[in-house]
Amino acid sequence: MLMETFYAFIIGSLVVLALNRFPRIAAVVAIAVSLLPLFALIYWAPLVGLTLPSYLSLLRFETEISYALGPGTILLQITPLGWFFLFLLATTFPLVLLFASSFVRDNAGGFYASMLLTMLGSFGVLLARDMLTFFIFWEIMSWSILALVLRGHDRRAIVSYLAFGSLSAMLLLFGFMILYYKTGTFLFGEMALEATPLTLAGISMIVAGFAVKGALMPLHVWAPHVYSRSEEPFVAFLSGGLSKLGYFGMILFMYGVATVPFFATWGTFRGVPYFGYALAVIGAFTAFAGTVLAIMQDDLRKLLAYSSIGQLGYVAIGIGIGTPLALTGALFQALNHTFFKAVLFLAAGAVYYRTGRWKISELGGLGYKMPFTFLAALFAIFALASIPITSGFAAKWLLYEAAIEQGFLFVTPIMLIAGVGAFLYAYKILYGVFLGEPRHDVREAPLSQLVAMWILVLPLVVFLVFPGWVLDITSPILQEYGMQPVAHTPYVITTNLAAYNTIAVILALIGTLFLALILYKWKPQKVVPHEDNYLAGEPPENYEYISMHAASNYYEPFEDVFGGIFRKGAERGWEIVLAGAEFLSNGARRIYTGLTEDYSIYILLFFLVLVGWWLLW
């Protein structure tokens, strides 16, 4: 049934394209097709040790297809790592389409078609077991994303996306070719990499290619433009699901193809190979700089974009460190990030859908008018700030444990400070958009958008209570890479440094909440109209001159003190590169002077050079 899924996606996208004038039907078709990977996920669950009730798996999916094509063979096969990331994508994709059914209005057919192709690409990437298939589906995914970015009609987004997209594709291609040269085969299974400088260069190029998609710091320049200029459901899927494929690729190549001993041959720093340590440092810098930049943004989408870059930095740290604890932390953080970032972007979309505004300083007081959107966003923000009442904390905790276990003295504080920084911009979103004085009277977001958001919030709750289940899914991955999985029960995670028991935290919280409730319900209270605030006695009726929303340029002192350094770092670097390319191209263009006499002289000169070169040589 697997091959039919691929065909279903292609035909589905064509059908949806044809249904461009009936968005509703197109949405239904798109959602129907998008459920197929979910069934595949459920059917393959036993492979990862999850025994699901049999009636759930309606369709039978082969676990492997191979298909000879020219020199290489196409091999698609399900692996525990593939299953884990498929779990992230397959669950968010139908919900994002459900959200889009009421959000996207113009040219909806085109939108659904490109989204289906994106999912096709990512589905293929997750199952690919050889470099040719991997590259084919990777490229299909990246150009279908281009089709979606084109809908945004923004110059910087399109040019930066395609430039960085080609950069990442070519880096991957170059890396694959080096691996092919060294190992003579395309199949991941049969690649026995011996540690030579060339293969290291190849692997680092591949990792750099994936870093572009995962928006690590020096290569992240395209992400803010693309995130802030495209439609919300697409961005939710892009930043929630697709940016994880970059990290999927990194894990696949760093631990699947080139195992840890491969990197260890070049020496280790406190038990972690230098390559991994460099990645961890880049990840830490990305996390810190991303958070600081997110604090300084006023546009909601830009803020969420930089925060997404920041949170992804954590995943890079986990992959860099590479111990079983760190990898589990990285995977758990990827899982959390998928869900809470999807909810945040969808909430931002719902707010835009209702108010039509992006600037935080123009929004305000929507908490009372859009309560369900607010609650979903509140929970997602708690997960973003990794507060122990959400599953966000378990992921960050694993990462911190791994970093301390390896004795990283300088990386851990940066990670912790980035975590605290997350509180700042988390509150900026909460206050700027949902609390404060009410300035727009709008209705609650439509039902389909709310349902999409609330289902995405569920995993954050479920994995809060039982983080062990996530560790059950990640253990087969570690075993596949020859690592010993982390000791855990469904609600306690123990490492050799300390333990984290979620049930204790929750029960204690319920107890204390009960205590606070008694204290709280002791006396009745009177709710006061919203304008009745103490403003040094100013009577409420002349409020009109308070137009400045308290949340406009909210962290201004922070910007005054630290703004300069972070303002335009990466952007300027890439502009220099572009200017260099432009200089070269001017040189090349000057050759074509447009005068026939020049061209004829060129021919004769060329002839003389040839003759001279050959006769003298």
């Binding site: 406190r270 908490g367 509140l378 700030a385 990794s386 507060i387 122990p388 904390f393 960050k396 905790w397 911190y400 301390i404 004795g407 003295l409 300088f410 851990t412 504080p413 912790l416 400070i417 605290v420 509180f423 700042l424 509150y427 909460l430 206050y431 609390l435 404060g436 004085e437 440094l497 300390a498 333990a499 984290y500 028991n501 935290v505 204690a508 919280l509 204390t512 909440l513 205590l515 606070a516 204290l519 709280y520 002791w522 006396k523 009745p524 209270q525 709710v527 006061v528 919203h530 605030n533 103490y534 403003l535 040094a536 308290a550 909210y554 962290y555 002192p557 922070f558 003190v561 630290f562």
Partner: protein, 318 residues
């Protein structure tokens, strides 16, 4: 099994009640000490209890909607939760279940819940107050976190309970040279955490009408007072656990229940002493501007912490 749970619940609720009582005592103690330094008579020591009782005795309690009420709920519950995860006077309540990172993030729940409620009140003063409080938090977390990481790597554990055991019978971290400087750095950070005078930028009564608490009155203010008092106890206990051996003087095995009593008194004396230090600074310092606080913490304090890290890095070789 059930008796054990009930016993545990009783112990926990007892400790929480004890925490609040000590917290209220600290409120009166603080105002008395500051008054004496200002050459004033100052309120009686039990003033804290009177204030809290009066607040809860208020007839009308004005609130701004359900999100506003959420604030009082979350702050009291959150801080009690944080207190439960700290080893207090050698009694490890729930501290074996979580570790130091959990406590750092548990301290965030009440702060965020309180900020959420104050934001819901819609008063611009509250918003400015919370902005300052969060930036201050970002500022003092850097040196604090650096020193904590240094200790974790040095003692090779992240669980506070094991850290306290390692410092038993007077092998306090204060006497280890590196962490003597660490104690000074964290003490300055503590000044920020307790929102004492040089760093009470967030609740400045003159500039922003007591910042976030501008709209809180009656029982809401009572809950917040409880949160602030308990926060003092929690933060000072954290400092004591990190550097002063958590007040464990006599080992329980040898001396039985007397050891509990002695340890408890030593712990109480230590946290009072630490709080007293903070009050001394509080009584005589003017208030910083938020930019100055940011620069102070991220320039001087963090620099010292960085030196400490390099020193510990040199010392530790795994």
């Amino acid at each position: 099994m059930v008796i054990e749970i009930i016993e545990k619940i009783l112990l926990l609720s007892g400790m929480v009640a004890l925490g609040f009582i000590i917290g209220m005592f600290f409120n009166g103690f603080a105002r008395k000490v500051t008054a004496r330094i200002h050459n004033r008579v100052g309120p009686p020591i039990y003033q804290g209890y009177l204030d809290v009782f009066k607040l809860f005795a208020k007839k009308t309690n004005i609130s701004h909607g359900w999100i506003f009420d959420l604030a009082a709920l979350f702050s009291v519950a959150g801080i009690a939760l944080a207190f439960l995860f700290l080893p207090v006077a050698g009694i490890s309540l729930l501290s074996t279940e979580g570790d130091l990172f959990l406590i750092l993030y548990l301290l965030a729940i009440p702060a965020l819940g309180f900020a959420l409620g104050a934001g819901a009140s819609g008063n611009p003063n509250a918003a400015v107050g919370i902005m300052r409080a969060l930036m201050l938090m970002l500022a003092y977390e850097l040196p604090l976190v650096m020193v904590i990481v240094a200790m974790m790597v040095h003692y090779n554990t992240t669980s506070l309970a094991t850290l306290v055991q390692m410092q038993s019978n007077f092998k306090w971290a204060l006497f280890v040279p590196q962490f003597f400087i660490g104690a000074i750095i964290v003490d300055m950070a503590l000044q920020g955490m307790l929102m004492e005078k040089p760093f009470d930028i967030a609740i400045a009564p003159h500039e922003i009408a007591s910042g976030p608490m501008v709209e809180f009155g009656g029982k809401h203010l009572g809950a917040l007072m409880l949160y602030k008092m308990m926060a003092i106890v929690v933060e000072t206990t954290l400092f004591v656990d990190l550097f002063l051996g958590g007040g464990v003087v006599l080992s329980v095995e040898q001396y039985g229940w007397i050891a509990y009593l002695v340890n408890f008194l030593v712990w109480f004396a230590l946290i009072t002493f630490v709080f007293f230090l903070a009050l001394l600074i509080n009584a005589v310092f003017p208030r910083f501007r938020i930019e100055q606080a940011l620069k102070f913490y991220w320039k001087y304090d963090a620099l010292a912490a960085l030196l400490l890290l390099i020193w510990v890095y040199a010392g530790v070789s795994i």
